[in-house]
């Protein structure tokens, strides 16, 4: 079938500003948007630039705005989209070229929450023990692939450069709720400052956008509760009280 694709192009070496370009290509209903982009590169216009790697939703390289929503190009099928299919780069980051944006600020915010296990007690000879229940507490937030669909879809992020953003909060949650970590207090302090979890306006755009199905807002609200009450508890644990 013929598919019409409109892409927002920008080449800093020749364009003053972004402009739309339309392509008509032959594709199957089960094709991914990523497949369409490859067809365009291979057969129509080799100057089209985008990031991609694994092609099946794990690496997080190909996050972009497809028909107005943040999605992974490799997990979005043609048959689920209205035509013409519009494709634009993620919002809120400088566009380097076409669909490639500057991800440095995103990773800088990620690093701000100390996204690594901190436990200076001498480790045992074998594994530290962790019960399945303890493991379950932070399971959701271990799934993050740092694709930036959540952060670049967040209205607070769009207007407030200090806002750490949903992805950084997910990373923080993953460690705050991990029974083996010992730096919850320091992280919660960072998250309690301006630009942290209290700037979230609970818009739920992040939950809608996350290709891994992480309940981002729930994680943010659990972090807020931890800061306010001084006790780190999940929503399930809180409702059992």
């Amino acid at each position: 079938m013929e598919v019409v694709v409109r892409i927002l192009r920008f080449d800093p070496e020749k364009d003053g500003k972004p402009h739309w370009q339309e392509f008509r290509i032959e594709a199957e209903p089960n094709d991914r948007v990523l497949d369409l982009l490859h067809i365009i590169r291979d057969e129509h216009d080799g100057t089209l630039a985008f990031r991609r790697s694994c092609g099946h939703g794990i690496c997080g390289s190909d996050a972009m705005v497809i028909n107005g929503k943040n999605r992974l190009a490799c997990k979005t099928l043609v048959k689920d989209l209205r035509q013409p299919i519009t494709i634009e780069p993620l919002r809120g980051f400088r566009v380097i070229k076409d669909l490639v944006v500057d991800m440095e600020p995103f990773f800088a915010k990620y690093r701000r929450v100390m996204p690594y296990l901190i436990n200076d007690e001498p480790p045992p000879e074998k594994e530290r023990y962790q019960s399945p229940e303890e493991r379950e507490r932070f399971d959701d937030t271990t799934k993050c692939i740092l694709c930036a669909c959540c952060t670049t879809g967040c209205p607070v992020f769009w207007v407030n450069g200090e806002f750490l953003g949903p992805a950084a909060f997910v990373a923080a949650h993953r460690f705050v709720f991990d029974s083996r970590d010992r730096a919850a207090a320091e992280r919660l302090q960072i998250l309690a400052e301006y630009g942290g979890v209290f700037n979230c306006h609970v818009a739920f755009n992040c939950v809608d956008a996350c290709p891994r199905g992480i309940n981002v807002t729930k994680a943010i609200l659990e972090l807020r509760q931890a800061i306010l009450s001084g006790a780190v508890q999940t929503e399930a644990e809180l409702s059992r009280r």
Binding site: R41, D42, G46, C54, G55, K75, E127
Partner: protein
């Protein structure tokens, strides 16, 4: 073209599991290190590994690293170097604990220990039954490893150069001459088109495999054999390139992997008649037989007309597994089937076909990750390799599932420890004059080819098709020769490739063209090596030489580029405790 120079004691190319493991250890040792990666590190292919890390912790049942070693050696069809395998299986245990201490969120047993599951080829050596050896985190083990290692690298302040594309390896002379040292690399900064020269005492390649030479592959688009090809072009041999593993269960047509973990949890493989056909090929282990055996069985079933609906795929059936197992243990696999095939694995069997998955061969190294250049294992001072791009050899002619994650951790670490010792004692060797000359010439030729006739996409597609057709699971001498001729033909076409994009910023056209050159080199080395080896062993199966021939072929292939041709030398297999036997499951 602008150039920028850097100086670091150690330079690592590749930020997947092996690269990050090495970076972490070098950082902990206080060695000034730069990590170059053509992707942001968390995009690396290690992140897609699903099943688990094989390590004989013995948390669920009796297990020993010696059993793991034997399974690995038998799984390799007796081509693996047994001393290296013993080191790997022994150190695997400590590497798993190391990862857990770094925060890796393994699945847990009720007592709180790391959970382990069954996996193809891993057995209790006394009973021959499958043993629970694979330590896992749902079916996202690779994702967790990559995240954990990257997070720790952030903690230790590792210096990353992201979206830097490797274009050349710098040596002080001919790699086969004594006294030659590695002194750095050249890389293209993808965002700007600027060339960077990294002057180093020690260089580690951890650049991964080259599945993109095949049409149906589980590999990321970025797995184009960069490190292997760059080393090859500088006269360094590639070892055992003919051994390429096809994983039995890729999603039909897409090649996306459905982990062996499904079979580890009890999934069946069915042909068009609804039979569990593995009973005819591996009666004891059935679906948990090693991958080369299962993929071959699948090809034979399809060729004999027993594919589903007579077509070229078979079925992976998980309908009989408890719903909880699918949700908790195999969530990603379930999602892939639903999204890409519109198939609900709880109710229907999933169409699968063998998919190009893993390169057992690559840059030859010793057990400390030092690259060796001949059959005497002579190291090329200052040059190291680890992970899929290297060949130690621990996987021989066929790799067991879960052993790649072990390989990258154990040898990533060992290479780093050796590099650290080396960097402390050695001085910098001088860079050659105009180190960027070769790269600049190559890039300028690609950018300025106005009379070019062919697009990158066309040449790449033809390469992938001929390799899949004539050099994959079932091979014959005649077809391999036709394939080699075609690959060489495509190389000639490549010399006339035409790019659309002539600009500097993020020129994906240029990057793909450079990658295509690497793919062609790796493909040529693979096919020539396959043609040369007149026996069948592990994943290399020749219908014209169907038997394993230990008398003539119990040895490693070393392929060298000699002008337009390829020359072969051979390296003996290190045998410690396990004399080669017939391989039956």
């Amino acid at each position: 073209m602008q150039t920028v120079r850097h100086r670091y004691d150690a330079v690592i190319v590749g930020a997947g599991g092996a690269g990050l493991m090495a970076a972490l250890h070098l950082a902990q040792a206080g060695i000034p290190t730069a990590v170059l990666s053509k992707l942001y590190p968390t995009r690396s292919h290690t992140g897609t590994a699903q099943g688990g890390i094989g390590a004989a912790l013995g948390n669920m049942e009796e297990d020993h690293w010696e059993w793991h070693a034997f399974d690995t050696i038998k799984g390799s069809d007796y081509l693996a170097d047994q001393d290296a395998v013993e080191i790997m299986c022994r150190e695997a245990i400590d590497c798993v604990y190391f990862l857990e201490h770094m925060g890796l969120p393994f699945d847990r047993t009720p007592e709180g220990k790391i959970m382990q599951r069954r996996f193809g080829g891993h057995t209790n050596n006394r009973t021959g039954e499958p043993v629970r050896r694979a330590c896992h985190a749902a079916d996202r083990t690779g994702h967790m490893i990559l995240q954990t290692l990257y997070q720790q690298c952030i903690r230790y302040g590792v210096q990353f150069f992201n979206e830097f594309f490797l274009t050349d390896l710098l040596l002080t002379g001919d790699p086969l001459e004594t006294g030659t040292r590695c002194c750095g690399v050249v890389a293209l900064e993808m965002q700007t088109g600027i060339l960077h020269i990294f002057h180093a005492k020690a260089v580690l390649f951890a650049t991964g495999g080259f599945g993109r030479i095949f049409k149906v592959t589980s590999n990321a688009h970025t797995l184009t054999g960069d490190g292997c090809a760059v080393a090859w072009r500088r006269g360094i041999p590639l070892e055992d390139m003919e051994f390429y593993q096809f994983h039995p269960t890729g999603i039909y047509k897409l090649g996306v992997l459905l982990s062996e973990a499904a079979r580890g949890e009890g999934a069946y493989l069915l042909n068009g008649l609804g039979e569990r056909f593995m009973a005819r090929y591996a009666p004891k282990l059935m679906e948990l037989a090693p991958r080369d055996l299962v993929s071959r069985a699948m090809y034979l079933e399809i060729r004999e007309g027993r594919g589903v609906n007579g077509k070229d795929y078979l079925h992976l059936d998980v309908r009989h597994l408890p719903k909880e197992v699918l949700e908790k243990k195999l969530p990603d696999i379930t999602e892939f089937a639903r999204i890409y095939l519109g198939v609900d694995p709880e109710r229907e069997p999933v169409p699968v076909q063998p998919t190009a998955h893993y390169a057992m061969g690559g840059i030859p190294t010793n057990v400390d990750g030092q690259v060796v250049v001949d059959e005497k294992n002579t190291p090329l001072v200052g040059f190291y390799a680890a992970g899929e791009c290297a060949c130690v050899s621990v996987h021989g002619a066929n790799r067991l599932g879960t052993n790649s994650l072990v390989d990258i951790l154990v040898f990533g670490r060992r290479a780093a420890l050796h590099m650290a010792r080396f960097c402390r004692d050695a001085d910098f060797a001088p860079l050659p004059e105009n180190p960027e000359a070769q790269t600049m010439e190559h890039i300028n030729r690609l950018l300025n080819n106005n009379d070019g006739r062919w697009r990158v996409g066309k040449i790449r597609r033809e390469l992938q098709e001929v390799m899949m057709d004539k050099a994959s699971v079932l091979r014959t001498g005649d077809e391999l020769q036709e394939c080699l001729d075609k690959v060489r033909d495509l190389k000639a076409q490549y010399a006339q490739v035409r790019l659309d994009d002539r600009h500097s910023a993020f020129n994906l056209d240029l990057i793909e063209a450079l990658e295509l050159g690497y793919l062609l080199d790796c493909a040529e080395a693979l096919v020539a090596s396959a043609l040369n080896r007149t026996e069948s062993r592990g994943a290399h199966y020749r219908e014209d030489f169907p038997k394993r021939d230990d008398v003539h072929w119990l040895k490693h292939t070393l392929a060298y580029r000699k002008g337009d041709d390829i020359a072969f030398r051979y390296k003996p297999v290190a045998i410690t405790k396990y004399p080669p036997q017939e391989r039956k499951y």
